[in-house]
Symmetry: C2
Subunit: 504 residues, 2 copies
């Protein structure tokens, strides 16, 4: 280490050497000055801090006496392992936070609505990457990715684009070529747009956050399917919006109820996952899509459409995105490459028409300037319409088999559960037998190495959803699905037995 | 193309074949169905849309008649170049936006404060990547980076970590190893922290956005140095905060004025760039740092410290970060790897103690779930304390020479300008001679291929700052600096001459 910015107070009564000593001791104790770290030469540190060399020498001597550092010939002064009783504990939490911090703590202890959304599992935790557990969470099967191909593409981008890929890039709405590529991919979704109306975002979550920033004020109501995507709910609650749930049936949102809700609550936006809904897997029929657009137009409410798996269809007729039906800029359409490439690239997009587009772009720039130009270029190089569609075809074939395997396993191993067969997407929404708690089942499953998402995470009402679990059938092989559902069924059986043995 | 989600309205009076035709025509006209695109086979598309095959055949026939598509043996039906008069213009802006969109447009036309921040140059535009122009903007010299080394590191990460690098990763505060690495780098800055109090962000801009999200409500005042970093100002204005400027002198913020301003405005936070301030280059003396902390503590106001070039020091005594002096969690400290690695990686961090840390982490997750786990791992692999410090040493040596070269060039070529010599950082803040407008000089410079940032960008008052330009001395070689300042001097001379020739 050549340079250190140790805080020195020349007016304090504590001698300067002591100040240097305490600062170093604190770093060693905290482990941030790790064993083996080379401290600056006394002369250099003295010059840096504007103190005399003897000050630094004295400080080093104190630390050396305590065995915390050692002068080693040829290596200079080196930090030793800090396993001594007389190391201070300066990293303990200070006793008194400022009042503004105490208020934040207080809010927290009041069990705000954000906390109510926390389930027993950390959200979206990357269990899929832990080989030992069978996790029915996540987005898609990352094992389908070729990390070798990805590495080669990154290499190609760096060679072709050089430092252009490493600067801030285009601080507008994203890398122009990628925006055009996305518009072409969307053309196959029936969405006639152009690159100028595509904004690249850091995942579709950021797209939703931007729409909220531009369209909502605190305390604004938002209308959402009930249940709905947990991270969307979490965002609404974080932004202090009131979440108004629209009931669902087997065809998705009950759009006929929307007009009354809109009249009553005057929502700032309607958030919907119309195609292969998360978590229920339902797909909104075309008629309801048009009705939703009409009611939104009548009452001047923007629609935010989350189309995260809209093209992962296993059978039946295609349904156009709501955006494809939008004639006058009523719909902001969100998508991402998470499921077809990888969530870890964090490249999503939104499509919007009209004045709102410029606002969304300004919000993006204000919030994080830009999404990594390197990764934008990498995604643009990977994605072509043809490659996207052939990857989609392969993925669809595989996931359909996995959906069927999980459906069969559930019928065999957990016959008392009720579950539909979604025509697309990633999820089975499983109704548990009367009296079985999803929270309890999730805990029991985790103990046998099976990770499922308990249903309450998809509701803002903490008492709702405990009769459901959400299973992602796409992330695991058919064998793993068989094995995992078998174990889950056993865990449920034990829960039921324990329940039956309760007195009364 | 295998699949298309064309919107079909079975209840409309428009025949189904016409609906298919119009949708395809619109995509071809917009260019999203690019020439050469293969359309689905009629049978496949018919099945997808749930229409009869003759419907699709009729639609294709219409388009083929107009020369927009062509059946090619062995290739199927292919889109032709769309250079025909009878292609519709369905992508023209619709005549009537919904009212909520019209209101957004209206806000815009009212020339809101956001617009006032727009200068003649797009902000942070990556001129540094355009070889033909000499740009004195940007962050650091990207040409110092080895794209080959970076490519190799990415390759290594993908090989070692595999799909773990491509999932959502740790949705908490970031990749644990990287957080520990950052804590170690900060130890050399005198900031005793640990990985648990480090939050990885998508650049330091996001760190500031998170602090604002957690600490501010709309209309809250924020106290900032005047002038201040343009993208910070833009963020405050975007969030509808009132920006209260604190006057500066050659030593930075005039902290003795802060207490009165705090009493008067009750700000939600104080944003400061104490070390090598952007744009002025000043460095706040230790005494003022302590005074600022004291006044913030007395009035219970959080401090957000932006330390973006705090360790790029060319001479003189080191100054501790304000965070290094913070005893009770009053300071949120922002940093990034933009200047030492590359802005395009978009990896920054913040350090915070106390209850606010959990709030910041929750805000991060709500806004974009996580920063690319792949890039987090890449940065962790590149950065070690030793490598960081040796890169810092090389960079410092080089940038110091460039600072001196620019200072000399200015004295020689633009002797009527007043400019200090900052002890660190990236910027010279140049006061232009009486009567010379920075906006005019920026435009004149751009015409001769020299890009500078006009001073008004760093003020919220649109009438302020036009007597200053900001020059980044770090992004260009000494020869380029000589050449660029010479051209800029000539451009200024012409402005002055033109001014002198005005009647009266």
């Amino acid at each position: 280490m050549q340079r250190m910015r140790i805080p020195i107070d020349r007016e304090a009564t504590v001698p300067l050497y002591k100040q240097v000593e305490v600062a170093l001791r604190s770093g060693i104790s905290a482990g941030t000055l790790a064993p083996g770290t080379r401290l600056p030469a006394t002369r250099a540190l003295a010059a840096d801090l504007g103190v005399s060399r003897i000050t630094v020498t004295n400080a080093y001597a104190e630390l050396e006496r305590d065995g915390l550092i050692e002068g080693i010939v040829g290596s200079g002064t080196v930090v030793m392992a800090a396993s001594f009783g007389h190391v201070g504990r300066p990293t303990d939490p200070p006793p008194d936070w400022p009042s503004w911090q105490q208020r934040l703590q207080q809010d927290r202890q009041d069990d705000g609505p954000e906390d109510r959304l926390e389930g027993p599992n950390p959200p979206l935790q990357d269990d899929a990457a832990r080989p030992e557990a069978i996790s029915f969470t996540g987005v898609g099967d990352l094992r389908l990715l070729s990390t070798r191909d990805l590495g080669r593409t990154i290499h190609d981008v760096l060679r072709a684009d050089g430092v252009a890929a490493l600067g801030y890039g285009d601080l507008g709405a994203g890398h122009p070529q990628l925006r055009t590529t996305i518009a072409r991919v969307l053309a196959a979704q029936g969405i006639a747009t152009s690159g100028e109306r595509v904004l690249v975002t850091s995942g579709s979550q950021q797209g939703l956050a931007l729409a909220c920033q531009v369209l909502l004020r605190p305390d604004d109501p938002v209308l959402v399917e009930q249940p709905s995507y947990d991270h969307a709910l979490r965002l609404f609650v974080h932004l202090r919006c009131r979440v108004i749930g629209v009931p669902m049936d087997d065809d998705g949102m009950r759009v006929e109820l929307v007009e009354d809700l809109v009249r009553k609550h005057r929502p700032g936006l309607i958030y919907t996952v119309p195609t292969f809904h998360n978590p229920t897997g339902t797909c909104l029929p075309a008629r309801r899509r048009r009705d939703l657009l009409a009611v939104a137009a009548r009452h001047d409410v923007p629609i935010v459409e989350d189309d995260f798996t809209g093209d992962l269809r296993y059978e039946g007729r295609t349904q156009p995105a709501v955006k494809a039906l939008d004639q006058n800029g009523s719909v902001i359409h969100l998508g991402s490459f998470a499921k077809l490439l990888a969530p870890g690239l964090r490249i999503g997009y939104l499509v919007a028409d009209g004045p709102v587009f410029g606002r969304l772009t300004a919000a993006k720039q204000a919030l994080d300037l830009t999404t990594s130009p390197l990764l934008q270029r990498v995604v643009d190089r990977i994605v072509t319409v043809g490659r996207y569609q052939s990857h989609l075809r392969r993925t669809t074939r595989l996931y359909r088999r996995r959906r069927d395997a999980m459906s069969e396993a559930l019928a065999r191993e957990m016959p008392d559960c009720a579950v539909g067969l979604p025509a697309g997407g990633l999820f089975l929404w499983v109704r548990l037998p009367e009296g079985v708690s999803a929270r309890a089942l999730a805990r029991a499953g985790a103990r046998t190495g099976v990770v499922v998402t308990p249903g309450h995470r998809f509701f803002t009402d903490p008492t709702a959803g405990d009769g459901y679990i959400r299973l992602n059938f796409a992330t695991r092989t058919e064998n793993e699905i068989h094995d995992g559902i078998t174990r889950l069924g056993q865990a449920m059986m034990q829960l039921v037995d324990a329940h039956d043995q309760l007195p009364g």
